[in-house]
Symmetry: C2
């Protein structure tokens, strides 16, 4: 059995170190009681002592329950045991005494024998000391049909929240207890799991087969009430919804739905599951809490669903803001229709238009690249996967086939349509990068055009080309000297912008392309994955292609 | 390779179903764009169109990033790809166009080639349509020392937050971009993992041995930069802190620290790890974000740490409240000293005092139980583990040994001291339950005493006994007929309260004890785990013990 790894130190210190973290991140609003390791109690420092104190707790391993719910509007103190073990009577008594003022204290206890007895005895001791203490036991699990002592699960959090709201509103101990009991007796929960949990220091459990899930599990790694076949979540959700519906009986109230990640379910799966559960429950849903990790079972890949029939008063209590971040904001379901796609996204149609100069440039470039297919492939084969020639040729063929439909008389549209073809037909990073370059040229032209409605022949193509090269550089991350097409493109663009003319630009491009054969340290582009010795003496095929195009256009 | 189970339906629908859930739980403040499955864009419906739009995104599987951060104060839209795959250019363009008003749009992109190119081309297309778009690339990973293109990790969230703050404050596109770039260039991140992630539809990875952890991993399941030996988290944290410290260089600014659960770390371990990390970083920490699942890698059991040097302005930007619940509230570290234990918890000392009647009752009860040790054990052996007699005898011996030190003249103190001994010496559930009963008697006596300063002989012991029995029933969960000591105790208490006298009470207790031999369906207590046929004809040893005690006292 392989050792299971955990982000911990000594496993006997897990709970105290986690409580220390809660204090460290508690913004001064929580403190722990002295008395480690026997007494592990987190208590509010900012509590209004004239309000009823709420104390809960139990074994650790269920975080954020319960220490994460200590704060204004929820618990006054949380009493923590070791992992999955009830805290001692002394620890509970310490929590009660530290948290309670004149208004008394309500204990909220999950229905496990150890918790019930230890919290119970502590309550009696506190009473003997003259403290007014009441206790509510939560037994929300519906896993076992005729269970006389159902377990307490995440439905307990509804009790924390509602009791917290009544206590904060100044309710008396009797009122707080009555509100807590109303919730405790009407909440129903059910868990489902794909795997059990791993307790630090113990081997990984292997209880469930690859085609099994457990329904009706507890939060301490105990086996579920039954095994089901692994099915899509819509089917599992339907099974759970049916059980919960039966357990709810004939109440006509809408439901608050709490969806709890038992620890190991990725958020994206919890989202998928919540959608399935909300749709499977055939009752009105007033409020959804979660999905979130609320009462976990360490790293268990499972979830639990808790449902509570709610009237307006309970909805108000559940929605009230509280200090603990661990409490999820209650949200009503929203049915928002999809927004229509922006018009500009519809397949673009361009009206063909004529401009002999532009057409000649495009046609020359394409025919040049077609003619270089074999040569460029051979060059690329020495340093890469040998397809540079084919990639350029594919794009060239597609553009040549469309020549009669391109808007040569409308330069921004021309650039946009060529960019479209490059990104969809050419493929690969170089296709996207060339598309980026041409689209950027189009944007530059568009900007100039909107300023002075320029005709194709008055456009500053040198500046547009420079802008295109700049964008290729920006998004691709390559610089001059990285053995990419930029090593030809940038010198050519610079020459053009300096007014040196097309022939000089072509010569600059060729010099740049030749230089790539001497570059052996590429920080970006295809050559960055190739050892230097393989690069020496081989020109970059992208740069060679660019140089050839400039030369052809210059002729 | 076993099949890995997930809470999903068809794996091709995971991302769209999760986005549907985000809309469903989005309180009407987010919508998706039409165009599933190609276009997966979540966009705010409540955005102020005069503010700069923020658009981010990338592959899915990193939830809550990025869709979970769409909302007031953070992103205007999130563009989602499939799991770990960049969204298409069309999808990004759709997001830009749907989100952007007159103030323009900032794209925040993690440094992966696919994202950079697809977001880049979409930006160029949007520009060609006249939209003002800028882009910031985040490359915060420090895993590889001389990486020319570091990956984008959870540090990206700092950029979202700060840019969101400036945009909400009415900043221009240049101002928003400048703020984003300042954060992007100064944030540093490092990940560590105990196991890799499981992609739905693919087998579970098994890259790491039981004694290995990976340092410097990405968020797509790719291998980490190096393997380390599995060590306690304080040591791993020290290693990470050293690397981050080196990467930060000589800035004198305090840090904002973001602790990110990569998906599969239980909250209790994240708390332990955060404490270790905060202590290992030898720099001033102004603010902690998390620990929380912020930018996950599906179910990876790993975490990442991001550090950002912050001035007062950045602290303000990071602390500002935002709508997305996924954003963790920034918190300063708090050093709160442990609170002293309540005085009442110190070991109690009682002053011995005399009352012949009380002493006789306690002594008689103890001697009776001692005499029954073998008989009760034999009875229990038929239905349980055969130790009831020994359990009662142990408690009796302890009390007899203390007879001269008990406060017989002070009934509340007497009950409290006896209850103390029972819970610590007797052990087991029955020890705690008897302790609860006696403590409750003490509380009842205390209450009566505080009303009229009653002496031992004037106390209504019948009422106190009834109260004790009631508490045993309440905390133990057993009722009359469940084959427990209550079947003798409750009839005796009722007889006493009715004024029938001790002899009648003893007779009632005996009748109750005898009846337990006919009870075969127990819903609580030790017998609830025993089949009915084994119970028939065997009296409950607890009830027999109680009956014998009442009879002895009555004599």
């Amino acid at each position: 059995m392989p050792r299971v790894k955990h982000f911990i130190n000594d496993r006997n210190d897990i709970v105290t170190e986690a409580l220390d973290a809660a204090v460290l991140l508690g913004e001064g609003k929580v403190a722990r009681l002295d008395g480690y390791p026997a007494i592990k109690v987190l208590v509010r420092t900012d509590a209004d002592r004239s309000h009823v104190a709420l104390v809960s707790g139990g074994g650790a391993g269920h975080e954020p329950s319960h220490a994460g719910f200590v704060g204004e509007g929820m618990l006054t103190a949380a009493v923590c045991g070791e992992i999955f073990a009830s805290p001692s009577v002394d620890a509970v008594l310490a929590g009660i005494l530290a948290a309670t003022g004149d208004a008394g204290c309500l204990l909220i206890v999950k229905n496990y024998t150890g918790d019930r007895l230890n919290f119970g005895l502590a309550a009696e001791r506190a009473r003997a000391l003259g403290v007014d203490v009441e206790m509510v036991v939560v037994a929300d699990d519906i896993a076992i049909a005729d269970a006389t002592r159902p377990r307490g699960l995440a439905g307990t959090l509804f009790v924390h929240k509602v009791a917290g709201h009544v206590a904060r509103s100044g309710g008396t101990l009797r009122e707080v207890k009555a509100a807590a009991e109303r919730v405790a007796t009407s909440v129903r929960s059910l868990g489902i799991s794909l795997s059990s949990c791993t307790i630090p220091g113990q081997p990984a459990p292997a209880r469930l087969g690859a085609d099994e899930v457990e329904l009706g599990l507890g939060i301490h790694g105990e086996p579920g009430a039954e095994k089901l076949a692994y099915r899509p979540i819509v089917e599992l959700a339907a099974t759970m919804a049916k059980r919960l519906d039966d357990a709810l009986g004939d109440t006509k109230l809408p439901l608050a739905l709490l969806v709890n990640d038992l620890g190991g379910v990725p958020p994206i799966e919890m989202a998928v599951a919540t959608r399935a559960l909300a749709s499977a429950l055939k009752r009105e849903i007033a409020l959804v809490l979660g999905p979130d990790r609320l009462m976990t079972s360490l790293d268990m890949k499972g979830l639990s669903v808790s449902v509570l029939p709610v009237d307006a008063e309970l909805v108000r209590a559940l929605r009230a803001d509280v200090a603990p971040r661990a409490w999820p904001r209650g949200r009503a379901l929203a049915n928002v229709a999809p927004l229509p796609l922006p018009d500009a996204l519809r397949p673009k149609t361009y009206t063909a238009s004529a401009n002999a100069g532009c057409r000649r440039v495009v046609e020359t470039a394409c025919r040049t690249l077609l003619g270089l297919e074999a040569e460029l492939n051979a060059l690329d084969a020495k340093i890469g996967d040998g397809d540079t020639g084919s990639t350029f040729a594919t794009a060239s063929r597609a553009l040549l086939a469309e020549l009669d439909r391109l808007p040569f008389g409308d330069p921004p549209a021309l650039c946009a349509s060529v960019a479209d073809r490059l990104s969809t037909v050419m493929g690969g990073s170089s296709g996207i990068l060339l598309s980026i370059g041409v689209a950027a040229m189009g944007a530059a032209v568009h900007e100039a055009a909107s300023k002075n409605a320029a005709a194709p022949d008055t456009i500053d193509w040198a500046k547009a080309l420079h802008e295109g090269a700049r964008r290729i550089q920006q998004y691709g991350g390559a610089a001059l000297g990285d053995r990419t097409m930029l090593d030809a493109l940038l010198p050519a663009a610079a020459a053009l912008e300096a007014g040196a003319g097309l022939t000089a630009a072509a010569a600059a491009a060729r010099r740049g392309a030749d230089l790539t054969a001497t570059m052996t340290r590429a920080r970006a582009g295809r050559s960055s994955y190739v050892p230097p010795e393989a690069l020496r003496g081989v020109a970059d095929p992208g740069a060679v292609a660019m140089a050839a195009v400039f030369e052809a256009i210059a002729r």
